[in-house]
Each structure stands twice: as C-alpha cells, then as structure tokens.
C-alpha cells in the first residue's frame, strides 16, 4: 500500500495491490521498482505490465481529491493528513475483504510512526499479518507495484482534470505540481483569483498555495480562527477588554439608557439610524 506524492494537486491516492496468488517471484519479474526512481514513461510501461498480469495481480485505488483533503485538514476539529491517510488505507483493506479477497498479508508504507500504525492495523484486522515500514516501496515489490498504480492513476486524473469551476479553457500546462517547478509556479500565479483563491484542483491546505494567497488574494476571516484579541475586536468594531481600563471608558457611542433586547442581538437585528 502506498500513497502518492506531495504535489499541490498530489496526495490523492491511497491504494493497494493485492496478489491473488502468492507468486512473489513473478512480481519480481515484472521489475517493479520504487516509482520515484522511474520516469513517467517507465511508470506507464510498468503499469501496462501490471494490468496485463491480471491472473495474479489485482489493484484498486481510492481517490481523495484535493478538495476533500483541504476541507478535512482545514476542518474546525482538525483532521490531519496522517489520520486521513490511515483511514483511507483501512478503507481499502476493508474494500478488498468485502470483495472476497482472502488477505493473508498486508504491506504498508508508513505514515507517521511505523510501529504504532502497524499495531493499529493489526488490531483492526485480526488474522491478517500486517507489515508497516518506512520506505516500504523500495523494500517490497508489492508496494512498489502499488506505488506505480497510484502515480499512474494520479497522473491520468491530473492530465484530464475536469474543472468544476466555470473557467472556460484552463491552461493545462500546469507542470508537475511540485512547488519548485517553474511551470507550476507560473500556473499558480495565473490562476489566482483575489476572492476565491484557486479552483478546487489546488489543495488549499498546501503551504505553497497558502503563501501565495496570503500575499496576493484578499484576506478572509473565519470565526474559528485564532486571532489577536484586540485586533479582532477593533476589526469587528467592538470594544476590547482593555478599553474598559482606559479613561474614556463608556464613551458617547454607547447609549446607556437603551439596551437592546436579547431577541434582537441573538438575531443580529440592529436598529437602523445610519447606514
């Protein structure tokens, strides 16, 4: 099991490859290797081989779109990438079981501490021998194979990305998606909207996108954001606690005789004497 890439539109897929029959030697013969050491063309070639070896290799990927990842990571109750990745992997193992795959062993590339992750999976799936290792894709051919499926699937989805936004013909020359790719950089600058930021194609939780929006898009304040108390109060035109200590406390803008009823404040209804 292996997840793909850290690009701005990356990290979408957790995937598994199951070997229907224990033909590990044959898998070695397919010469799968760590997908990072392969070119895109090589990956495509190996993927073809894997796909043709249907008699003993099956695969599935779980697609997490950048939008799903953004909204999870930026959620009010934080849901971090590691947990998201774990849950997706667990979902895939369950998917295999539900589809009648008789799983004996599961090999997983780790996300976070390997031993904890291994214990978590072993506990969830008693009877399956779980092996979680860092860099598992270079240790086990089965994980290398999974890595290839994931990357190829991602490359294809990215290439043929269907923008949900109504943006006309979007320049498809967005490069690799890694922050140091000049094509990616140029694309991110070109498609930055001052209000909306980016299309859902871009992962908003990705620090490169955040940095660009911080400098080039308008600021958006959310209620659940931690913000300097005094500044927030100023912005909302409220009085901060500190103002009660200053000499002018209870200035003329307050009308002490007239207090708005809770009915109105709860509904944010305000009397209108000026616009």
């Amino acid at each position: 099991m292996r997840r793909a890439g850290d690009q701005c539109w990356g990290r979408w897929f957790t995937e598994y490859v199951s070997v229907r029959f224990p033909k590990k030697e044959e898998l070695k013969a397919l010469k799968v290797a760590d997908s990072k050491t392969l070119t895109e063309a090589e990956r495509e070639k190996l993927f073809q081989n894997l796909d043709e070896a249907k008699s003993y290799v099956g695969w599935a990927v779980n697609i997490l779109s950048p939008n799903v990842i953004s909204t999870c990571m930026l959620q009010r109750t934080k849901y971090n990438l590691n947990t998201l990745s774990h849950d997706t992997a667990i979902g895939l193992v369950q998917y295999a079981l539900d589809n009648g795959v008789q799983l004996k062993e599961v090999f997983v590339d780790t996300v976070g501490p390997a031993d904890k992750y291994e214990a978590k999976l072993s506990q969830l799936f008693p009877g399956i021998e779980v092996t979680v290792r860092p860099k598992a894709d270079s240790l086990f051919p089965i994980v290398s194979a999974a890595s290839i499926c994931a990357k190829v699937a991602r490359d294809r989805v990215v290439k043929g990305w269907n923008f949900a936004e109504d943006l006309g013909n979007v320049d498809a020359d967005y490069g690799s998606g890694y922050p140091n790719d000049p094509k990616t950089k140029a694309w991110l600058l070109k498609y930055l909207d001052p209000v909306f930021g980016y299309p859902q194609f871009v992962r908003f939780s990705w620090s490169t996108a955040q940095t660009l929006m911080d400098s080039k898009a308008v600021t958006v304040h959310w209620d659940d954001e931690e913000e300097d108390g005094e500044k927030a109060a100023q912005r909302k035109n409220n009085r901060s606690m500190l103002s009660y200590f200053s000499a002018s406390a209870g200035g003329n803008d307050q009308t002490p005789t007239h207090q708005t009823h809770r009915f109105f404040t709860e509904r944010r209804l305000k009397s209108l004497d000026t616009l």
Partner: protein, 191 residues
C-alpha cells in the same frame, strides 16, 4: 420627489459581516402611511415608507435611499457567507461558487478557500423584498449627506454555515421571525 416620512416597524438585517453592499428588507403591499406618533430619536427598525426616496438622518447628516427603480432592478442570487471577506466589489461568484455547489437532500454544500460549507436557500418573509443597496459617490466623511441606491433585489438568499448543517437555530432563520412578531405588535388592531 422626496418624502421624509419613515416609520418604525420594520427591520434591517445586520449580517454581522462586511457585505459588498448593505442589505435591507423592504416591506411591500402595505398602505403607505406617514407615522408621527413614534419616537424618532430611538428608531428600532426603519421601513422605507416611500417608493421614491426614503430619508433618514443621523446627527446632522442625511442618508437618502433611492428606491424608485426597484421594479426594474435585476433579481440576483445572494449568498451569505460565514466569514468576513476583506473585499468590496465584484467577484466571480457564478464561476467559482455556483458552478461547484452540490445539492444534497437536506442541504447544499460547497467549499470556499478550502473550507467546507453547508447551507440552504431561504425565502424572504412573505410580503418582503430583499434590497442590495450601494452608496453613490461615497464621501468618507460622516458629516456629509449620503445617497444610496438599490443595485439589485432578491426574494431568496442562500446562506452558508461553516461545516454545520443548516438548522432552525441559525441566526438568519431566527431573524425571519421578526416580521410576524412586528406585525402582531405594531400592526393595526382589528375591532
């Protein structure tokens, strides 16, 4: 033509966020009557009594609201966002927001700046029209007179919560209780 009568029986919704324009709800289908018996110094709610020009004053300055063109004003989709956007001007709402909105059974979903929003469409109270007001020739000084015009009107508003499903405790849903209550309190008494 300028009518100076305003009467106190209606409401303005302060959305609590900076809006591209000020949004008020205007009462219609009710006989326009100059009201004199209310206390003008503390108007709780103001209705624009005139179909031509409403006027309100605060200290020495006067704010004029032109409502004459409501009939021809375009109806627009209006979104109430659960965040404050430091922007006052046009935005590509249909391209980014409307195009990616999903209709579920009990709610609509969309994402804004990578955050998940859930919302629903809400109709203006019966007999009311929502107005989007825009200030003409903004002066910046609160001593001078100001003029605002109706830039668009709406019958429905789509409001969004951050991650929470829309429910009857939402501020804007509760705010819509007011017209009925106001009618009961301030409306004419039948014999």
């Amino acid at each position: 033509m300028e009518i100076q009568n305003l009467f106190v029986s209606d409401f303005l919704i302060d959305f609590g966020h900076k809006e591209p324009a000020i949004t008020v709800f205007k009462r219609r289908r009710r006989p326009i009557q100059p009201i004199t018996h209310r206390d003008w110094r503390k108007p709780e709610i103001i209705e624009f009594a005139s179909l031509f020009t409403a006027r309100m004053s605060c200290n020495s300055s006067v704010t004029r609201v032109h409502v004459s063109s409501v009939g021809q004003t375009p109806r627009v989709p209006v979104h109430l966002m659960p965040c404050e956007i430091e922007h006052n001007g046009p935005a590509q709402v249909s391209q980014y927001l409307t195009a990616t909105m999903k209709d579920r059974k009990y709610e609509k979903t969309v994402s804004f700046r990578g955050r998940g929003l859930k919302g629903q469409e809400l109709s203006c109270p019966q007999g009311y029209t929502g107005l989007v007001l825009k200030e003409i020739n903004k002066t910046g000084s609160d001593q001078e007179d100001r003029t605002v015009k109706v830039s668009s009107v709406f019958d429905k508003v789509t409001y969004w919560n951050l991650e929470t499903a829309p429910n009857s405790d939402d501020t804007i849903v509760m705010a819509m209780d007011w017209p009925e209550l106001a009618e009961a309190i301030h409306g004419p008494v039948d014999d």
